[in-house]
């Protein structure tokens, strides 16, 4: 936004500095400031609200419904980051700290109970040293939504509240640390905007990383739907292998992820990956637009939760159709869009040798 002549002059200077204009740099820069940074900021603010709400609930200043809602918002903000996981949050074990999924052995419940057995007066410092399994949203989902726990009972509230508060604190600190790493000098935002830098040798590498994370996000969405559908287990539905099954948030998580993936495609001001396609490539752009719309409409049409849909043939049929739609979207990005943009998504990471 051009507020003053000085800003306009500085902007002109900045633009002239990157001439001849590099469309890849322009797109990377626009997505970083228009889509990625706002999504990370939204995640931080959702985590701040969850921390505050957990504290208020435990101090009897808020009801359980309000804290559950704050949890759902934090989970949704995290889901929106799935196709946007470039940089600091994708490194080390940070993503594990936010969410522990897949959880095939119900480690979340077991480790929460074991932790509380050993630490009756749990502090945030204790949690920082504990396993990632109990540090994140999966553990607080267990506290807030599991049918074996009733936080409206005083005894249970006393037992679980220290952990609920500690998780809120941990998540807020983690999000705030990540935002710091985005916004520092030579931080992630700067690395997506000017080249070369310590991460990217040129703008092509940055766009490659953005498309790669989007493709990985779309693949992850297929996995989140395919796992409970039993697509990897001979068609036998596995409702308890779903992400966020306790809160019935599985499908709304997918919507949040899909919406973020589409924003990376479109950009906040028609300046996303789509803008890199030439007019000759308009047909591909339209097919990708349609694929997003198809998945979006299918998700919006679902009135029931994932576990309800898994319970009968008609529901499973709808979920399989949604899976196919996500699969189309994933393949369009992975093969056709990558090829149209001249991007190599790499083959060493999945090599297995």
């Amino acid at each position: 936004m051009l507020r003053t002549p000085l800003t306009a002059a500085l902007l002109a200077l900045a633009l002239s500095a990157c001439s001849p204009s590099d469309p890849l740099q322009k797109t990377s820069s626009a997505l970083a400031s228009g889509v990625l940074l706002p999504a990370y900021n939204h995640w931080l603010s959702a985590d701040q609200q969850l921390a505050a709400s957990s504290q208020a609930f435990c101090n009897a200043n808020a009801d359980l419904a309000a804290t559950r809602l704050a949890w759902l918002n934090a989970q949704s903000a995290w889901s929106a980051l799935q196709p946007l996981l470039v940089g600091p949050l994708s490194e080390g074990n940070r993503a594990w700290q936010v969410q522990f999924w897949p959880d095939k052995k119900n480690l979340v419940a077991r480790q929460v109970e074991a932790l509380l057995q050993s630490k009756t007066a749990l502090t945030p410092a204790d949690l920082d040293k504990a396993s990632v399994v109990v540090q994140g949203l999966s553990a607080s989902e267990y506290l807030l939504f599991d049918t074996n726990i009733d936080l409206t009972q005083a005894a249970q509230k006393n037992r679980y509240c220290p952990l609920l508060i500690a998780i809120g604190t941990h998540q807020q600190a983690l999000a705030s640390d990540i935002l710091g790493q985005w916004q520092s000098a030579d931080g992630m935002l700067a690395q997506l905007q000017s080249f070369p830098n310590t991460r990217y040798a040129d703008s092509q590498e940055a766009i490659t990383d953005l498309l790669r994370t989007q493709v990985t996000g779309l693949e992850g969405m297929k996995k989140k739907l395919g796992t409970p559908l039993g697509r990897q287990s001979k068609g036998q539905p596995q409702p308890f292998q779903a992400e966020a099954w306790r809160s019935n948030a599985s499908l709304s998580n997918l919507s949040a992820s899909l919406n973020a993936a589409e924003q990376l495609w479109l950009g906040s001001q028609a300046d996303g990956l789509r803008s890199l396609l030439s007019s000759q490539q308009g047909e591909l752009a339209n097919r990708i637009d349609n694929a997003y719309q198809n998945s979006r409409l299918q998700l919006a049409a679902q009135q029931k939760s994932l576990s309800q849909l898994l319970a009968d043939d008609a529901g499973r049929q709808q979920l399989n159709a949604l899976y196919d739609s996500l699969n189309t979207l994933h393949r369009l990005h992975e093969s056709e869009l990558a090829k149209a943009l001249g991007i190599q998504l790499g083959f060493n990471a999945n090599d297995g040798d």
């Binding site: 040129d202 790499g346 083959f347 060493n348 090599d351 040798d353």
Partner: protein, 369 residues
């Protein structure tokens, strides 16, 4: 993470950027500029290539081959290199490194396929390659080939004393082989693991007549597959693992066998180990600087440690990082998606420079000769 100390590519003005792009060859020593980088590569349409480039970007050859290759082994004296077929390929390609001419397509015998790695004996007369006995899937064998009149001929075979062998290298005596038996059984024409619940990975030292000298396993890590190796001039062996168990299990992804000592975990900070996402790709040791480099392409991360103190020298993101090899300045690293880089490790601050080589599509390993 010593990012603050790592000036890397940052802080260059646009003017110096242009200069760096134009003159990046000048950052290389004369010796490095003459170095030939050998690697398997793909083209954008997925065709498989055997390529040789000077580090200043000059293409020496790019030869299309029918199957994807993995490691490359240069002949010790002749301008020849074998591009070794990737599991479960039955072909490897002997290439003339002066012009890229395909000298010979080497076929593995019936009931055998290549695993992707091989070594030439220092005499130049013998080649040893890790192979699968597909009649007894996973039984590790070393194919022994003799180079005569510019052609490799199957001579005999030896046991690797283990299951699913992968990389092999010489100890400094040039007569003792160190073999990474990955421990995973796979069948002909397949990459699917048959025995994840009963893996038997081992690090074997054997002489080149086939005699077993030692066999070691990583304690309590049955699903940890020893895959890749680097050997230092003093005989120190480092192994990189690919862990087949859960993503949050704590596995020894890097191990070291110092001369005369048992194989043991190389000390890693938890954050580093977790960043590797249970998967190590290529290793290289820099003998003069006593440094160890590792590419971890699942975690999109490159690491460099001091080999003796295990202190971290570098821990940086590098998307789909692939091959790594030592040059006088430090290490050259390739990537499946981005530019190849030179990491100059001669001063405390490691300096990265993008090389003028084609970007992306570089396969797992590179060799410098």
């Amino acid at each position: 993470m010593n990012r603050r100390n790592f000036l890397g590519l940052a802080g260059l003005s646009l003017g110096t950027l242009a200069a760096a792009a134009a003159f990046s060859g000048w950052t290389l020593s004369r010796q490095s500029r003459q170095t030939l980088l050998l690697s398997a590569r793909n083209d954008a349409d997925g065709r498989h290539l055997a390529v040789g480039y000077r580090l200043d970007g000059t293409q020496v050859f790019s030869t299309q081959v029918s199957e994807r290759c993995h490691d490359v082994v240069a002949h010790p004296s002749l301008p020849l290199a074998l591009f070794v077929g990737r599991r479960p390929s039955t072909q490897s390609y002997l290439i003339d490194c002066r012009d890229g001419r395909l000298v010979q397509t080497l076929h593995s015998p019936i009931d055998r396929h290549f695993y992707g790695h091989a070594v030439f004996h220092h005499s130049g007369d013998w080649l040893y390659s890790t192979e699968n006995d597909t009649r007894d899937p996973g039984r590790g064998v070393l194919g022994v080939y003799r180079l005569q009149d510019g052609q490799l001929q199957r001579h005999s075979e030896l046991s690797t004393h283990g299951i699913g062998p992968h990389q092999l290298l010489w100890l400094p005596d040039g007569e003792t082989l160190v073999v990474a038996n990955g421990g995973i059984r796979t069948e002909a024409d397949s990459r699917e693991a048959l025995n994840l619940d009963a893996m038997e990975s081992s690090l074997v030292l054997m002489d080149r007549d086939g005699r077993l000298l030692s066999k070691e396993q990583l304690a309590a890590q049955q699903m940890n597959s020893i895959r890749h190796l680097a050997v230092a001039a003093d005989g120190t062996v480092v192994s990189g693992q690919q862990y087949q168990g859960g993503p949050s299990d704590s596995a020894a992804l890097l191990a070291i066998k110092r001369p005369g000592q048992p194989l043991q975990a190389f000390p890693l900070a938890d954050g580093q180990r977790q960043a590797m996402q249970q998967y190590c790709a290529s290793l290289a040791i820099h003998d003069e600087l006593r440094l160890l480099a590792l590419t971890a392409p699942r975690g999109n991360r490159l690491f460099i440690w001091d080999l003796d103190s295990a202190a971290v020298r570098l821990d940086v993101p590098l998307a789909d990082c692939a091959g790594v090899g030592a040059v006088p300045e430090g290490f050259v690293v390739s990537s499946g998606t981005g530019r190849c880089r030179l990491y100059d490790c001669r001063s405390p601050q490691v300096i990265a420079t993008a090389l003028q080589l084609p970007a992306g599509l570089w396969d797992n390993h590179l060799r410098l000769s």
